[in-house]
Structures are given as C-alpha cells and as structure tokens.
C-alpha cells in the first residue's frame, strides 16, 4: 500500500485544476442566470447545497493538484526543488508582513475590508511566489 502511494504519479493534474476552477465558479453563472422571482421563490437550502457541493468538489481537486505538484517537485530535479523552497520562503515572509500591515490598516481605517483579508493575502502570496521564483532563478543562473 505504501509503495503504491509512493509511486502514484497524480495523473491529469492540469485537467483536474481547470475542472476545479470551473466547478468553483459554475454556481455563480447558474445563480446569475436565474431571475429574481426564481431566486425568491426557491428553497434557500437548495442554493446552499449547490454552493457546498461545488466548493467541496473543487477543494478536493485543488488538494489533489497541490499534492501532485508537490510530489512532482520533490521527485524531480534538486535545483528546481531548491528554487521552489526558496520561493515559498519569500512568499510566506511577504504574506506574513502584508498580513500584519493589512490588519493594522484595515482595523484603523476600514474594518469592513477585513472580510476580504484572505482573498487579498492569497493573491499576494501567489504573486510573491511567482516573483520569488524569478528572483531565485536569477541567483542560480
């Protein structure tokens, strides 16, 4: 069993990633296509269930892709693994600094923006990782 897991190559990662993104935003298009009357007259639990199911499926997809790309990098070239780790370090430090800065700014000036903190942080972390990769690559070139 352990060997099976060790040799599992997580196939179709890109397709799963695209599928998860689509499933995540599909309810938005569905709800957008409904008229106001249809939404008012419908059972709110149905809409809630739709959102929960789509989020659950896409979350499983994202976890699968994360594990897949993680093991792909670990099993692959060691320099790429090193670059990945250093870029993650940059992304994590940047997110932490931005988190404290945003909490300070939002709490003092606009508390309602705290609702968007996670989304902003996620975008900052992804951007910091991409920029970090380019910076670290230059170091080893």
């Amino acid at each position: 069993m352990k060997n099976h897991l060790k040799n599992f190559s997580f196939p179709y990662k890109s397709i799963v990633l695209i599928f998860s993104c689509l499933i995540l935003i599909l309810p938005l298009f569905y709800i957008g296509s409904l008229s106001v009357d249809q939404i008012i007259n419908s059972n709110p639990n149905n809409l809630r269930l739709l959102l929960i199911i789509s989020t659950l499926i896409s979350s499983i997809g994202f976890i699968y892709c994360t594990l897949g790309y993680h093991f792909q990098i670990i099993k692959g070239d060691e320099l790429i693994f090193r670059i990945h780790l250093e870029a993650l370090n940059i992304a994590f430090t940047t997110s932490l600094v931005v988190l404290f800065a945003l909490i300070f700014i939002f709490l003092n000036f606009n508390p309602t923006l705290l609702n968007y903190l996670l989304i902003i942080l996620a975008i900052v972390a992804i951007l910091a990782y991409i920029i970090g990769i380019e910076i670290v690559k230059r170091k080893y070139r």
């Binding site: 070239d77 060691e78 320099l79 790429i80 090193r82 170091k139 080893y140 070139r141």
Partner: protein, 65 residues
C-alpha cells in the same frame, strides 16, 4: 564550495547535457554546480563521483583547502 567538475567533464568529453542525463538531473543543475552557484546534495555528489570514478573530495572541496 569549489569543484573541478568542468575539467573532469572536458577530459571525458561529456557535454553538460550528457552528464545531467547520467546523474538524472537537469542541465541547469550541472551548470549551476560548475559555476559554483549551487552546492549539490550528498547523493548527487556521490553520483557525480561515481560517473568520473573518483572520490567526492577529489571533485568537491572547500575554498580553504
């Protein structure tokens, strides 16, 4: 850490790509090692030493030595 990888590679007439395939890494990794920008892991150093039939310390050594 210093190394004489490029000399050994030239002696054997291996390209960076050939050596990379022999030790199962990318050409960029071999290039980074030769330019002393990246220190290889112990397993990779051992693999490289095995390819050139030498001891690890004959290929990789500290600057002070």
């Amino acid at each position: 850490m210093k190394n004489v990888l490029h000399i050994l590679r030239a002696e054997k007439r291996y390209s960076q790509d050939d050596l990379a395939k022999l030790v199962d890494v990318s050409r960029q990794t071999i290039n980074a090692i030769e330019r002393e920008k990246y220190d290889p892991s112990l397993p990779l150093a051992l693999k490289i030493a095995k390819v050139f039939n030498k001891k690890v310390e004959e290929i990789f050594f500290l600057e002070s030595n």
